[in-house]
Symmetry: C3
Subunit: 391 residues, 3 copies
């Protein structure tokens, strides 16, 4: 496999033809193009630091210069080597290829010098691909796609309230060995709470996690598709729309019981948004909201970047949230509770890896919200990442 290819490749046309619902979504094994994706946290890239990332199969170098993060393709034009194999920065604004001294300006990708061949005719003529970068809420967002002008605003690629003033955000990230869609569907799937029933978070935070949630009909989820705003699907968890199941029975025999009397209740709703970000509100506590992204690394891995947001009034409240996050929510929720989700995705990946899982799966009533998400994502995405984009 070459630097930017991975085993698994792209989806076979013969398989796609047989997909009836959400065909574009199934085709998007490497993700949707022309969207903003968070690659890491702002605190992970200091002034003049260079950090390599991989998004939608593309290798990208990020560098912070005078506070601003820039992104260029992590591949020298000349011989195709990864610049990040040995990072050489001789000036603030440039990255130099370790092999032959090809030097690129991070702001525009221009080949601005070749250290050992200063009169070369190619200097100032060729550019390496650049990636728009924007920071918000302590996350570094990268736009992966074509040279669009104007760029779609970041606000259309995050859950509606994520950029709200006063929302403090903290989080963690991991690489998960599963496709990004397996990540999305694990998170948005309301029946999967079955795997969390023994989580320390449930007991410790007195949560009323049921064994399952039975939707009362089609109205329990609804799409949001207004122009100029984020596109997503809401799954409603209130008693008007779903019936929580607290008693599990097999052959008329009760085998498991949840705790319907617990003090802290369920989230009111879970929603999923293009290009692949979940919002759980409130969670894991009445004052908190969880936002989590499933960012394609390649066809078989995603960055699981998960955060908690809390509305705060000023720096002091934010610091208090920071302490609470580190002491309680990071270990108990993002690292403890969500570890089961990582495990479940990696176990599910086997079935979907060769793309036949999309044909062989047998979804049931409770998966209506997932079907809706596949349809919505197929309608509203801005492009599908294809092999030619990795060339």
């Amino acid at each position: 496999v070459s630097a930017e290819r991975i085993p698994g490749g792209f989806v076979d046309a013969a398989i796609l033809e047989r997909v009836r619902i959400g065909r574009e979504y199934v085709a998007a094994k490497y993700g949707f193009r022309n969207h903003w994706y968070p690659a890491l946290f702002s605190a992970e890239i200091a002034e003049e630091q260079v950090v390599p990332v991989q998004l939608l199969g593309e290798r990208i170098l990020l560098k912070r210069v005078d506070g601003q993060v820039y992104g260029i393709r992590d591949r020298c034009l000349h011989r195709g080597v990864q610049l990040s194999r040995k990072i050489e920065c001789f000036t603030k604004n440039t990255i130099t290829c370790w092999y032959h001294g090809f030097t690129y300006r991070v702001q525009d990708g221009m080949l601005c010098n070749i250290v050992g061949a200063p009169q070369s005719a190619v200097i100032g003529k060729k550019r390496i691909r650049t990636y728009p970068v924007q920071e918000a809420k302590g996350l570094v967002f990268v736009f992966v796609g074509d040279d669009l002008n104007p760029l779609p605003p970041l606000a259309e690629d995050v859950p509606p309230d994520f950029l709200a003033p006063g929302l403090a955000v903290r989080g963690v990230r991991s690489d998960v060995n599963a496709n990004w869609r397996v990540g999305c569907e694990n998170g948005f799937d309301s029946t999967h709470i079955f795997i969390h029933r023994d989580a320390e978070l449930i007991r410790n935070n007195d949560l009323a996690l049921p064994l399952g949630l039975v939707p009362k009909g089609r109205s329990s989820f609804q799409s949001v598709e207004e122009p100029g705003a984020p596109k997503g699907v809401f799954d409603l968890f209130d008693p008007d729309h779903v019936t929580p199941v607290f008693e599990g029975a097999i052959d008329q025999q009760t085998v498991l019981t949840g705790n319907p009397e617990a003090a802290n209740k369920l989230p009111h709703h879970i929603s999923i948004w293009l290009p692949g970000v979940l919002r759980v509100h409130p969670w894991p506590d009445p004052t908190l909201t969880q936002y989590e992204w499933y960012v394609p690394i390649d066809g078989e891995r995603h960055i699981y970047l998960r955060t908690l947001g809390k509305l705060v009034a000023g720096a002091e409240e934010e610091q208090q949230f920071e302490r609470e996050f580190e002491a309680r929510w990071r270990p108990l929720a993002l690292e403890g509770f969500n570890l089961d989700d990582i495990w479940a995705r990696e176990a599910t990946e086997d079935f979907y890896r060769d793309d036949t899982g999309w044909l062989r799966e047998q979804l049931f009533e409770a998966d209506g919200n997932i079907i809706e998400w596949r349809r919505l994502a197929s309608r509203h995405n801005r492009g599908i990442q294809l092999p030619e984009h990795l060339r």
Copy 2:
């Protein structure tokens, strides 16, 4: 690769077309369908224990309930995950999927409950695939194939005397990194005894192992193909049919000598039977018979399940055989002597892995019995395992 696929896949049609002898046998890279295969020993699966196995590329869960072993496909209908990734049994008769609580009855594979969605319309409507299971002589046999009615009797898929009353059987099993046919042909190949010449078993048990056996003609092997009985090929080792070679010479110079005067003699005959089981009689001692199976795990691995049988008169003699087996025959024969065979198969696999070995090999006179086995297996098998069976 997906859960049930392995590198190597199935045999290319262009290769099969060029095979002149035993084409069905060459096509059966993943084994012959509609046969009984031993997966493990009865003692390895206790009451209510769940054990995952893989046979002919299919992942199967075995569970013992009220003494009887049942087999179901180790793949949830819903999202295709392996049930065995985290075994959950809430009642004696069921297995529950760890992900969404889909619960299957082991006797008939019926989806009998979904723990978190007790009113789902799919409950009682869908079944997971089941596998007939039968125990005999301390082995658990699984029938891998279609829903045949009636099932072919186990007695047609084992060597003729294996089910004889009074035959006590003990054995061991290993996974070998070679195709099951490479296993069969290593065992049935009379010239391969060359590799065993320095085995401790030969010296220790005073066996007269020659360096080779020269057949006296076509009559030295014969097929057995009566209807309603096991199908196999006998290779006759008596002096009327073969000449043992005890002196090895190169360029008229003797380089190796066997021991023709040894007290314990050779087996009288070696026979191989569908779906891939060898009988060596007597071996490794005049009162013993070796029976060994080469059970396809997938296209590149097989379970090497090997046993010794001894006719015993009652429990006391059986216990004595048990002690002798553990103290002497297990270490010396099944684990010592046969280790060379495992090594040889894994070294041979390289040449056959991409299936071109079947075209490139150059068999010679002494391989007549192997050619006959390929023909017989092509004539009498009950089906070939194909990619669609793994879907």
Copy 3:
């Protein structure tokens, strides 16, 4: 993958069609056939020692008998196993297959006995493939190709002065995880000296390594293609042909400086020769010449066999060179300095592994000598190694 296949395989016809310059060279992923390649050093194979090697994808066994090294295919005719998996030599002139006793004469590959089947009709009728072997300057050269008669002389496959009387040669070898052409182009590439700027050899030996070398035009390199002599390309490093760059600048700011006043100067010229051997003269010292081979192991690896040659007058001078080589040049030059080249090749391989790198690379002015090498190699090679040669 089978014994002689490796991931990556051969170059796709659709890619080759799009190659405009040096198409045969690009096609020769597994090397050029019908050439002499050094496989190891003479001192590495003692009398009656058997050594397995892999060249151009072919597995070969070398054995020294009465001082002469012979080469045969490392694959038994019968079942295709590698003889080298367990080497059995019962007589000086033969190798016996560990599996069934097939015995081959190393001089002509004849199947001269089968230890356990001495009367087989195939004895004396079948031959295993043999490889011409020739030793020179302490290297064991193997001819990989067709049965040509007469064989091309070794002298046409080494740099012009390599076989000169009085030239003492010492060296080392390593296996490198990169295609052999990536090796050639790393060595012949004059701009790549950028990676060596901090090498201990430069400081320690007071060498004037510039950051780059700017050719003064097309005349700075020239092909040598006289009939009956080695075919290669010279790259001239003298001031008439190139301008060394000792000051590296980015945006008018000096960022790196070499040492133009160093006592020991640059090589006068670097030349590359079919089938893939470099000559650097003088290097790393005025009295020495470096000769280095990039011998294809398969499509993704090469043997990097590198040597230094020195003209000596008699045994005493040769011993003095030997001591100097071991104490100084081996650690400082061949093992120290060249380690950077090994690293660079392995980092470059990613881009060329799936063969699309040949279409995606963007060579520049300083790569003119490399383009010339690709053309010359395409014109003068004696054949391309193809899949059928590995059957």
